[in-house]
Subunit: 759 residues, 2 copies
C-alpha cells in the first residue's frame, strides 16, 4: 500500500476538546431570542376515536402562545409510507400518537397547558401481535389500507431452495426472535423551528439527514401554502445518533406549526421518558430460518421468512428487509436463497433505522443457526465458517460484486487471538463463540442518489476550508475528511478547516447511514482536493517550466517527482496566482456519487461499491445458578480496506460491540399492550461503564480499489455479529441455545432447567 503521511495517523477527534470542556453547544444548550417552548400531548389509548378536544382552558393560560390540534391542520401526510400526520385527527393508533401541542414562554407553562387540554376518547379494539394482526378480522390500524399487511414486496429468490434442500445432507430449521431495543442517545431528540420575516425556515436539529429533512420540510411548507420559502437545516452538536434521527418526525413538524402559529422560534426537546416512548426503535422480528449443507460442510441453501412488527406508522424500519437481504444472500457462499418478509401494522410504537439497519437481526438468526448446523454436520463451527467464507472477486447470488474481501483473514485472526483450538468445547461453564458479518462498506444506493458534494477554497497561506455534505454526528467524519484532504494536498491536518452540518453552506449529501461517510464523503473530499491540486500544479508548472504531470505537492512544496530539491513553496505559488491583475485564487468542487445500483424489482444488483467483512469471537463465563453471562474476552477483526484513523476506527468498533452486547444480553424496550413499561435508564438495561466489554480490535487492511486511500465503512459493522457470537459462546459454555434476544439470566436458567428435565 502507498505510504501516507496524515492518513493512517491516530488523530483524536477534532470536536473532542469542545465536548469534554463543555464548549460544545447541543440543541439542549440553544436558546434563540424570543424563543418559546413547545410540548406535545400524547394519546391515552393505544387505539381510539378522538371524540372531542377542548383546548379552551389551555388557550387562556397566561404565557401560552399557541395551541394546536389535528383538526385545525391541513391534511398533510409525512413519512416513508405517507401514513403519518403531525397531529392526529379522528383517531389515535398508538400511545405515541400526538394529539395536541402547545407553545408557551417556558416549559412549565407549556406542561401546565397540556394538562388543561381535555380529550374525550372512544376506545377501539387493539392488536399488538403482528401474527394476530395478520389474521382475518383483526382490528385495522389504517382502515384505508384495508389490511394490516404493508404492501411492500420484500422477496428475494436466488436459485432453487426446494431442490437444494432435498439435496442437502444436513438441514437445520428453527425460529429466532428479536424484540424492541432503542438508541439511548445521551442527547435527547429536539429541534428549534425559526421563521424569518420572509417565511424562510431555519431548523436547528440533530437530524442525521440534513438534505433529506430539508426536502421534507420544503414539501411540508409547500403544503402549508409557502412554496417560495427556503429551508435551512443547522445540525447542532449531536449527542449520539444511531438511526433514530434518519427520518423526520411529528415533533419536528409540530415545532414548525407552532412557530408559524406563534410567530416566534419554538423549541421542542424530548425529556428522557419521551425519548424512550416516542423515539423509533429497532424492528422486532419473528424469524423462521432453515439452512442446509453437504457432508463436507458446504452450505447449500438459506431459506428465511420474517414477520416485522411495523407498529402504527411507517418509517424506514419497514425497509430494513432490503438490508437484511445482504447477510441472507451474501454472508458466506450460499448458492440458493429464499427470503420473504412481511411488515405488519400493530398498535405498538413504530420502528426506524438503527445501527446495522436489520443486519443484526438477520445475522443473529443466520450465525446462531450456523453453529446448530455445524453441530449436526459434526464440523467445528470455526472450520465450518472458513469452508464457506467469502473471497475476493466473488459475485454473490444477489448480485454483489465483492472486490476487496478479508473475511477469512478476519476469521483466522479471531480464532488465533481467542485461542479457539485451545478453548472450544474444552471448558466448564466457559465457552467461546464466533460469528461473521458482511455490511455495505462503499455506500448503499437506498435513495435515488448516494452522493456527497465537497467544495474547497484555499487561502494565500495554504490553509483550506472544506465544505462537506457529510455530517459530523460524533462518528469523527470531520477528522477523517480533514486527514484525507491534508494527505491529498500535502498539508498538515491543522491547515484543514471542515465546514459541515449546515445546508446553506454545505453541498448535498444523502445522510449519515449505511456506514457510507468515510467512503462516499471521503471520495468526494479527495476528488475536490485533487481538483484543487491540479490547479496548484498547473500554476507551479508555468513558474517552474515543467509539466504538471511531473510535479508533486508535498510538505507545502511543489517539486519535480524525484527531485525534491528543485522546489517552489506552496505559499509562493498561491501568491503568484493571487497577486497580479486578473489574478485568481484556488477553489474547487466535486460531487462524488458511487457507481452502485438501486436494487432492481427482484431486489438484485450491486448496492455498494465495496463490502466490509469481519468476524467476532468471544469467550464468556456463565453462572449456571444465576444464569448471568460474563464476557471474559472479546475479539473483533474487521476488514476496513484501510484505516484512515485507527483511533477513531477502534472507537467505532468499541461502540458497536458495546451496543451489540447490550442487544445480546440486557437491552429490551418492554411494551405491554402497546405501552412502554421501562422508559428510563434504571429499568432499560443498557451497558454502562462498569459493564465495559474487554475488546481487542484487529484491523485487517485490504486496500479497497474504490475507497478513498483504500478505505471502507466501519460505522455499523461493530454491532452486527455480537449477539450470535455471544449466543454461540453461551451454548459452548453451558449447552443451551437461546433463540430470542436478549439472552437474559432468566432465559438461561429456564433453559438449563428444561435441559436438565429433558436429560
Amino acid at each position: 500500500m502507498e505510504e501516507l503521511q496524515v492518513v493512517g495517523q491516530r488523530i483524536p477527534k477534532r470536536d473532542a476538546l469542545d465536548k469534554v470542556t463543555g464548549r460544545a453547544r447541543y440543541i439542549q444548550d440553544m436558546k434563540l431570542p424570543g424563543m418559546l417552548y413547545g410540548k406535545i400531548l400524547y394519546s391515552k389509548y393505544p387505539h381510539a376515536t378522538i371524540v372531542r378536544i377542548d383546548t379552551s382552558k389551555a388557550e387562556k393560560l397566561p404565557g401560552v402562545r399557541a395551541v394546536l390540534t389535528g383538526e385545525q391542520l391541513p391534511p398533510v401526510k409525512f413519512g416513508f409510507y405517507k401514513d403519518n400526520t403531525p397531529l392526529k385527527a379522528g383517531k389515535v393508533r398508538s400511545y405515541r400518537d400526538e394529539v395536541a401541542a402547545v407553545a408557551a414562554v417556558d416549559p412549565l407553562t407549556a406542561q401546565e397547558a397540556l394538562d388543561l387540554i381535555e380529550v374525550t376518547y372512544s376506545p377501539l379494539p387493539t392488536v399488538f401481535d403482528p401474527e394476530e394482526a395478520l389474521q382475518e378480522g383483526a382490528p385495522l390500524i389504517h382502515e384505508a389500507h384495508k389490511s394490516n399487511l404493508l404492501k411492500l414486496p420484500w422477496k428475494l429468490i436466488c436459485g432453487d431452495v426446494e431442490e437444494a434442500r432435498k439435496a442437502s445432507d444436513f438441514v437445520a430449521q428453527d425460529r429466532y426472535q428479536v424484540t424492541w431495543v432503542t438508541h439511548c442517545c445521551l442527547g435527547t431528540s429536539g429541534c428549534i423551528a425559526d421563521f424569518d420575516l420572509r417565511q424562510n425556515l431555519t431548523m436547528y436539529s440533530n437530524t442525521q439527514i440534513p438534505s433529506l429533512a430539508q426536502k421534507d420540510y420544503l414539501e411540508f411548507l409547500k403544503a402549508l401554502g409557502l412554496p417560495d420559502s427556503r429551508v435551512r437545516i443547522i445540525q447542532t452538536f449531536i449527542g449520539g445518533a444511531f438511526g433514530s434521527k434518519l427520518d423526520t418526525y411529528a415533533y419536528e413538524y409540530i415545532a414548525i406549526l407552532l412557530a408559524r402559529a406563534a410567530r416566534k422560534p419554538v423549541k421542542i426537546l424530548f425529556d428522557r421518558k419521551e425519548e424512550f416512548q416516542a423515539t423509533s426503535t429497532r424492528q422486532p422480528a419473528i424469524i423462521d430460518i432453515a439452512q442446509g449443507c453437504t457432508k463436507e460442510g458446504r452450505l447449500t441453501f438459506r431459506d428465511m421468512t420474517m414477520i416485522l412488527d411495523n407498529g402504527a406508522y411507517t418509517s424506514w424500519g419497514a425497509t430494513t428487509p432490503s438490508v437484511m437481504m445482504m447477510p441472507i444472500s451474501s454472508l458466506y457462499k450460499v448458492p440458493n436463497i429464499r427470503y420473504i418478509a412481511k411488515c405488519v401494522y400493530t398498535n405498538n410504537t413504530y420502528s426506524q433505522a438503527m445501527r446495522g439497519y436489520g443486519n443484526p437481526q438477520a445475522t443473529f438468526a443466520i450465525e446462531s443457526q450456523l453453529d446448530v448446523l455445524a453441530g449436526q454436520a459434526g464440523i467445528d463451527p470455526y472450520e465450518f465458517r472458513l469452508i464457506n467464507g467469502n473471497t475476493p472477486g466473488e459475485n454473490t447470488p444477489q448480485g454483489f460484486k465483492i472486490t476487496s474481501c478479508g473475511h477469512r483473514d478476519c476469521l483466522e485472526a479471531v480464532a488465533r487471538e481467542l485461542d479457539w483450538q485451545g478453548k472450544r468445547g474444552k471448558q466448564k461453564n466457559r465457552g467461546v463463540g464466533i460469528a461473521s458479518l458482511i455490511h455495505v462498506g462503499g455506500g448503499a444506493r437506498v435513495y435515488k442518489s448516494d452522493g456527497c458534494g465537497t467544495m474547497i477554497k484555499m487561502d494565500d497561506y495554504g490553509r483550506v476550508d472544506v465544505f462537506t455534505g457529510a455530517s459530523e454526528i460524533g462518528q469523527g467524519s470531520e477528522t477523517v475528511i480533514a486527514q484525507i484532504v491534508a494527505e491529498e494536498l500535502g498539508l498538515g491536518i491543522e491547515a484543514v478547516n471542515i465546514i459541515n452540518n449546515d445546508t446553506d453552506v454545505c453541498p448535498w449529501d444523502v445522510g449519515v447511514h449505511a456506514s457510507r461517510t468515510t467512503f462516499v464523503a471521503g471520495n468526494s473530499a479527495r476528488g475536490a482536493a485533487r481538483k484543487v491540486k491540479d490547479q496548484i500544479l498547473e500554476i507551479a508548472a508555468k513558474e517552474m517550466e515543467a509539466n504538471p504531470a511531473d510535479l508533486v505537492l508535498k510538505d507545502r512544496k511543489v517539486f519535480v517527482k524525484g527531485s525534491p530539491d528543485r522546489s517552489l513553496s506552496l505559499e509562493k505559488v498561491l501568491r503568484k496566482a493571487h497577486y497580479s491583475p486578473q489574478g485568481t485564487m484556488i477553489m474547487g468542487d466535486y460531487f462524488y456519487d458511487p457507481l452502485n445500483d438501486n436494487l432492481d424489482r427482484e431486489f438484485k444488483g450491486n448496492m455498494s461499491m465495496a463490502y466490509a467483512y469481519g468476524a467476532h469471537g468471544v469467550e464468556v463465563e456463565v453462572d449456571p445458578e444465576t444464569g448471568k453471562v460474563k464476557i471474559l474476552n472479546y475479539v473483533a477483526a474487521h476488514d476496513v480496506g484501510r484505516a484512515i484513523n485507527p483511533l477513531l476506527l477502534e472507537g467505532q468498533v468499541y461502540g458497536g460491540i458495546t451496543m451489540g452486547a447490550g442487544y445480546a444480553l440486557s437491552e429490551q424496550l418492554i411494551l405491554h399492550k402497546g405501552e412502554v413499561m421501562n422508559p428510563n435508564f434504571r429499568d432499560y438495561k443498557m451497558l454502562t461503564a462498569k459493564d465495559k466489554v474487554p475488546i481487542k480490535a484487529i484491523v485487517v487492511e485490504t486496500d479497497d480499489p474504490a475507497g478513498p486511500f483504500g478505505a471502507k465503512g466501519i460505522g455499523e459493522p461493530g454491532c452486527v455479529p455480537t449477539a450470535p457470537a455471544i449466543a454461540n459462546a453461551v451454548f459452548d459454555a453451558v449447552g443451551v441455545r437461546i433463540r430470542d434476544l436478549p439472552i437474559t439470566p432468566e432465559k438461561i436458567v429456564a433453559a438449563l432447567k428444561q435441559k436438565k428435565q429433558e436429560a
Copy 2:
C-alpha cells in the same frame, strides 16, 4: 441595452425587514457564553512620556479578569506604516493613545478598574499644526522617523505646468482648507475576540475588510507565538461603515490580547464619546491650487500642493493622495498637471479612509476654483464645464482609459432640471451652483489584488446559494448580487440566497472600498453564475439533443433560442443530473480580478476598469442677516453605467449627498490642542431628518462594456461634489466665496461684512 428581467428592478434591500423589526443582531446585541467586557484607558496628555503605570489596585478589584499595559506586550506594530502598537509603551503621542486595558465580568466593573489604574506622565512639547510640525525644531512625534514628514512620495507630474501657466489667458490661484469630519456611524465600533481550545481566533467585527483584517490578525497571532492558529472573521450586521472600518485598530488587537490573557471571549464596544474620540476621521488638508484657461475657456493646467494633517499614527488616510490624483488629473480635460502632497505627523487624532477617500477634499478646491476661473474668463460656469467636459475614449494625463462616460449628459441634465439658465445670477439671496465628479467605478487596484471570489451551489429545485466575498455593510450588495445571479440564471430573486460576511465560508475579497462591490463582486457573481449555467445547458443539451450554444435558460426553463415551446424545466434537468448513479449536482466558482493597474512609481496607470462621472446642481437661499444657508433644490445626475437596482442606487445617492451637505455646511470635529471638544451629537452637527435635503436623483445609463450588465460603482460619488456645488451656489446667492469648510453661518456673515467694508 439588453432587456433584462431582474436587473433593473426596484427591489428593496434584503436586510431591510430584519433591520426595521429589530431582528438584525449588531455587535451591540451579541453576547457569547462566558464573555467578558474590555475597556481601554486613554492618554491624559497629547504628548508625554509614560513614567509609571500601577495596575495593582485594578487587578485586585473583584470581577476583573485581565489587566494589560504596553510594557508587558511583545513589540508588535500594526497599521499601514507600522507605526502603531495596541498599547503604548514609553510614550503617548495623542489623547487617543491606548495606555492600558482591562477585561471584567461586566462593563461597569471594567470601567471601575480603569479608574483604579494610576499612570504617571511627564508631558512633552506638542505640535498640532502640520505646517508648524514641518518646521525645524518642531517636537518629533516619532523620534525614530527623524522628521514629522512621512516618507510617502506623493507627486504627479503630467506635461509642463510652468509653460502652460505662462501660456494661459487666465489664471486663478488660491488656498482652500478642509477640517476633520467623522463618520457618525449609528453602530459604534466594536468586536468580540473569541479563541477556541485549539487557539483559533474568531473575531466578530464590523470591519469592512474581512480578508485583510484576517491577514492582519494572522500576522499578529504569529508574532504572539501562534503560527498555526486560524482566524475567522464574522461580520455582524453593520450599523454604518464609510471607511472607518477599513483598517484594523488598537481596540481590536487589545480585545485579542485580553481574550488570550483571560481565556474567555472579550467584547470591546465603543461608547459614543469614544466613537468620536478614537475613530479615525477624514483628512484635514491645506490645499494650494492654481488653474488656468484660454480665452475660449479651455483649461490649460492644474497645479496643486497639499499638506495633510496625518495625526500621531498612520492609517490609510495617508494614502488618500493616490485617489486625490484622480480628480486632479482627470476631472475635465486638463493637459498639464502638477500635484504634490505632504503628510505630516502631529499630536492630533489620525485619519483614515472615508467615503470618497480624498476625492471630496480635492474636488472642493478644484470645483470651487473653476467658478472663480470661469468668472475671470467671463464664461458661465456651466458652459465652462461643458467646454472642458470629459468624453468617452479619452486617455487622461494620468493614464486612465475612459470607456463609458456620461459626464456631459450629467451636466446637461442637471442644468435642465435646475433651470440653470433661468436662475444663475438672476436672484437675490438665492443662487445656483454646479460641480462635477469623477470616481473609480470599476474597482481600484490599491492592493496587490482587486479581486473577489464567488462560489455557487444549486439544489434540486433551482434554488441557489451564492457565497460571495462581498460584504453587506448596509449598502445593499446582498440584493444587487442576488439580482445579478438571478438574471444570469433565469430565476426569480427569491430563489437566490446570499451567503456573506464570514471568512470561513466566503471567498476572498479585498474589502468594501473604492465603490467597487457592484462592479467587482457583481462580475465575480456573474462569472460563477455563467459557469453554473454552462453546466445546466450542457446537461440539458444532451437530453434535448441540441447544441448547448443554442440553448437559453430563462423562467426556470431551458429552450432552444427562438423556440420557447420546445423546453425542459430547470428542475427536470437538475434531477436528471442528480438522481442517477455517478450523478452530479451543480456547483461552480469564479474569481474575478479586474485587469486594472497598480499605479506605477510616477503614479500613472489605469487604476480602474471604469470611471463614474456625475454632476450635482443645487439652489440655495442665504439669509444675509444670519448667514444661514437653506438648500431649496438639489439635483444629482450620475453616470452609473447601468442601474442594477434604481431604488438602492438612489439610496446611495441620497446618503452621499446628505453626508456631503453636512461636510459643506455644518460638520466639524473640533480639536483644541489635540483634544476633541465636541464628542457627541449635540455639538457635532450632522444633518438629521429635519435637515432633509430635497434631492432629485437622475440616472444616466451608459452601459459600461466591462461592468456586470453594464454597471459601474456608485457608493461614494454622491458625497464628492456636494461641497463645491453648495459653495458655488452660496457665491451666486450673496457674492462671497467661502474657501474653508464647513460653510458656517458665522463665516458667511463675516465674509459679507468684509465684502461690505471692501466695497
